[in-house]
Amino acid sequence: MRSGNAGNGMGKKTTTKRTESEVKRVLYERPRALLDVHTHYCAGCGHGTMHRLLAEVLEELGVLEQAIGVAPVGCAVLAYDYVDIDWTEAAHGRAPAVATGLKRVHPDKVVFTYQGDGDLASIGMAETIHAANRGENITVIFINNAIYGMTQGQMAPTTLIGQKTKTTPRGRDPETTGYPLKVCELLDQLVAPVLLARTTVVTPKHVRQTKALLKKAFQCQMENVGYSLIEVLSPCPTYWHMTPMEAYHFIEQTVTDSFPLGVIRDVKDRA
């Protein structure tokens, strides 16, 4: 895993305010592109962190006005209500196909999909693999929380072995339901992708690393290097039946055993 960006960690431009003799410098504030609304996500949900990082990265790269997002079906279906850029929804799993159409028409825009594990790795696996295999010059943000949150907690392709869900009430049994699907490793078999990485958001350090990777993924697109996918191990306290802190620990201590963190491919660095 590459180290996060240096400095104060948030990488934000600081602004200076003068009040009488005091000098005030904003070290952290909500990114401009995050709309001033309360999100529908549960307390401790990783989507909120990823929306924030998305807004920060697009702003820091100066491409808010060039960005076009494709929202999934799943908990993040309302992502367009939270980040102030052009968006479209896509049918369940079809975001990479929709993004392909958008990007081919507007090669100069910054096109990304934001998808969960059911959307990207189950119903949309064909679109995922083929967009990656064509080397579409898009950025894919893959939120892997190992469960279907919006439909109240069914097994996802990334559900851990033994994990209890609504549809694996006695725990996921690989004999009948297979194994947690490793998207980055799967896509690593293809020639075209240029950046494949798995990260998480469960400690401040990981958040900084994730932000750096996300930025790099968008830079790949802006420099016409090609397809990138950032997989984010993301907590779902509600359907893991844990407190937020338990869910964060669970990712660090358990989920990463099945889904090791790290950069799986980085063609840009290799070149």
């Binding site: 968006w87 049918a91 392909t100 958008l102 028409v105 910054v110």
Partner: protein, 357 residues
């Protein structure tokens, strides 16, 4: 076929190729499709020509991906099209429903083959319900155009893009394997330069404007009902303005043939060059728009008719629209062939004599 048609020149092309050329001339700059017989000549034509003429061709990984690429291209603000044949059109229904929900224009060409299931690759008209009743989930209709000659494939494909723009809706061109594969002399030079309507709703990034969001999710029931009512208003306008049909034969015909596409082509032969002298006058009622169906005109013709024979290459689907339009004004009979069989002029003639002589 030469892509640069000199003025007035006539080209001998298949219906599939004519659709491709007309689409490009209509300003279509994005096409995604997946191989399926009997429409492969259309995809091949586009694959060859569209990139040379400033557009994007993608062979998609599936029909689902193809329609959703068209969704993306249309959302991006360009004229976009996909084509397929019956089984592939079934797969595209999800995307078509979403495009209706997002008010995105697109042209979808269905070169029908026989079903159900994999069926076979012979021409058929079994997708009439699917094309005219919406096809996917939810309350919607798509304008459905039914060409019966290669020239009409050209003209209606061009028209389909204008209609899609005007009403912000997917438009279906419902052809069949016969229309798609047969070759006829066609003119393209009469088609005007395309004039796509402005798309202030398109996703282009936000310099100098507020953001656009394209979506069909409308969680509050009141909001979704309001959107549905708006769609119904659009459909009422389409029904008022966009009905197209052709009547061939004498004004005082006693018997009407009702058919579209390939069936209509064979019926017209009976009206214009009968195999044998019929003891009554026959005319052909041919809907060009299957939806909106030419209900009013058919009702008017039915007032004076002794009877109507509906000829379809299906178990009888359009006949339902004929029954609704005629509303008991005269008897309605059906000649239905299935499985990829095309009714012959002889069997239609025989049926007419049995029923009406």
């Amino acid at each position: 076929m030469d892509s640069e048609q000199p003025e007035g020149k006539v080209a001998l092309v298949s219906g599939n190729e004519a659709a491709g050329e007309a689409a490009i001339r209509a300003g279509c700059r994005f096409y995604a499709g997946y191989p399926i017989t009997p429409q492969n000549e259309l995809t091949a034509y586009i694959a060859d020509q569209l990139p040379l003429r400033g557009g994007v061709f993608i062979q998609a990984e599936s029909e689902l991906a193809a329609i959703n690429m068209v969704f993306g291209a249309s959302a991006a603000g360009t004229r976009a099209m996909t084509s397929s044949s019956s089984p592939g059109i079934s797969l595209k229904q999800e995307g078509i429903s979403y495009m209706v929900g997002c008010e995105l224009p697109a042209v979808i060409i269905n070169v029908q083959r026989a079903g159900p299931g994999l069926g076979n690759i012979s021409p058929a008209q079994g997708d009439y319900y699917q094309a005219t009743r919406g096809g996917g989930h939810g309350d919607y209709r798509c304008i459905s155009l039914a060409p019966f000659s290669v020239q009409e494939v050209c003209d209606l494909t061009y028209l389909a893009f204008d209609l899609a723009d005007a009403y912000r809706t997917p438009v279906i061109l419902l052809a069949d394997g016969m229309i798609g594969q047969m070759m006829e002399p066609v003119r393209f030079d009469h088609l005007p330069a395309p004039s796509p309507t402005p798309r202030p709703w398109a996703l282009t990034g936000t310099p100098g404007r507020k953001r656009n969001v394209i979506k069909s999710l409308r969680l509050p029931p009141e909001e979704l009902e309001a959107f549905n009512l708006k769609l119904q208003d659009v459909y009422a306008t389409i029904e008022q303005r966009e009905v197209r049909l052709e009547v061939t034969g004498p004004d005082d015909a006693e018997v009407l043939l009702a058919a579209y596409g390939t069936s209509a082509r064979i019926c017209r032969q009976i009206v214009e060059r009968p195999l044998r002298q019929l003891p009554f006058k026959v005319a052909l009622f041919r809907p060009i728009t299957l939806w909106p169906f030419p209900t009013a005109k058919l009702a008017e013709l039915a007032e004076k008719a002794r009877g109507i024979l509906v000829v379809e290459m299906s178990a009888g689907q359009m006949v339902d629209d004929v029954r609704m339009a005629v509303a008991g004004r005269c008897p309605i009979e059906l000649l239905a062939r299935m499985g990829g069989n095309i009714p012959s002029a002889a069997e239609i003639t025989e049926k007419l004599i049995t029923l009406f002589a």
